[in-house]
């Protein structure tokens, strides 16, 4: 039988309520899942921290043992510099930085806690000397570059001091 009545139909409340409950249930499920995932993340991060801390403690113990065994630090540093920065290597590094118009009249290398280089530079022009100084100062192989007295009257004669870093750090 078809309903031909003109009485208005009531609002579809039950369907709305069901949707509301469904949305609330989804919200609860999402919230529970988020809590679970956050808990997992905490466990993972704590495990990572524990692992890193164990690693750190092992390294610290090894360092302490090595440092207590090493008797003379200055001697060890001098050994390292002698082996890792022999004169041919230092001079080759210097030569790479020198423009064609620059030469060294003398150079001295002092091996101690660090390797100090002192050189007497002769440059045909002030510009060539400035270029050499710039290259020396920007080179990662040298540190504490200290230009000394210089005579810029025609041919430049100057003293330069620097610390050689090379591969030794």
């Amino acid at each position: 039988m078809r309903d031909f009545s003109t009485r208005p139909q009531g609002p579809e409340r039950p369907r709305l309520h069901k949707a509301l409950v469904a949305v609330a249930a989804i919200a609860l499920a999402w919230s529970a899942y988020s809590a679970f995932a956050a808990r997992q993340e905490v466990s993972q991060r704590r495990a990572t921290v524990d692992h890193a801390r164990r690693d750190l403690q092992a390294s610290q113990a090894r360092l302490k043992a090595l440092e207590s065994r090493s008797k003379d630090l200055a001697l060890a540093q001098q050994s390292l510099l002698t082996l890792d920065a022999p004169p041919p290597r230092v001079l080759a590094t210097l030569a790479e930085l020198m423009p064609a118009d620059v030469r060294l009249s003398s150079v001295s290398l002092r091996y101690g806690a660090r390797l100090d280089v002192q050189m007497q530079v002769i440059a045909r022009s002030a510009k060539a000397y400035d270029t050499f100084l710039e290259r020396l100062q920007s080179s990662p192989a040298f540190e504490s570059v200290l230009p000394g007295d210089e005579n810029r009257d025609g041919e430049v004669r100057a003293t330069v001091r620097a610390g050689y870093r090379g591969s030794v750090s």
Partner: protein, 164 residues
């Protein structure tokens, strides 16, 4: 009415779980991440110091010690150092050599070596690198080169390490 109440309770439960658990766990995860960053930084610093200490210890070993025995019997550190230098000089091209070896005062069982000579630039540089090669027991203290027309003058000071 009951359905609306149930929906409300579910929403409240969702908010409660979020505020009570998720937020707390996230805060714990964030502090664990901070702690990891601190430990990682500390570990990096220790690794740098460790690598340097290992290199220093290896360098002492690589440098070696002067031999205590020669072909003709026991050697004092001074004799052993002199022999090392004399052998390095053979065929080196270094001329006009003045050599002095004397006991060093700073390090026990060690000797000071002083050498002056001259040669071509290539010979002098090669010799300066060869004399304190790994295993020689000699450590460089000072190397000075100065040009003399077509020759290069060499002045070298080294320390010879005797066996303890």
């Amino acid at each position: 009415m009951n359905v609306r109440l149930a929906a409300g309770l579910l929403v409240l439960a969702a908010v409660g779980v979020h505020m009570g658990l998720t937020t707390r766990y996230r805060s714990e995860a964030a502090s664990a991440a901070d702690e990891f960053r601190q430990v990682r930084e500390e570990r990096r610093k220790v690794a740098v110091r460790l690598a340097r200490t290992v290199r220093l210890e290896n360098a002492e070993r690589r440098a070696g010690r002067l031999p205590a025995e020669g072909e003709r019997g026991p050697l004092t550190p001074a004799r052993a150092a002199r022999l090392q230098v004399v052998r390095s000089l053979e065929g080196s091209g270094i001329e006009r050599v003045r050599l002095g070896v004397s006991p060093a005062l700073v390090v026990p069982q060690s000797v000071s070596v002083r050498l002056k000579g001259e040669g071509s630039f290539e010979d002098v540089v090669r010799f300066a690198g060869h004399i304190a090669r790994p295993g020689s027991g000699l450590l460089l203290e000072m190397v000075a080169l100065d040009t003399r027309q077509d020759r290069v003058g060499l002045s070298l000071e080294a320390m010879g390490l005797g066996r303890p």
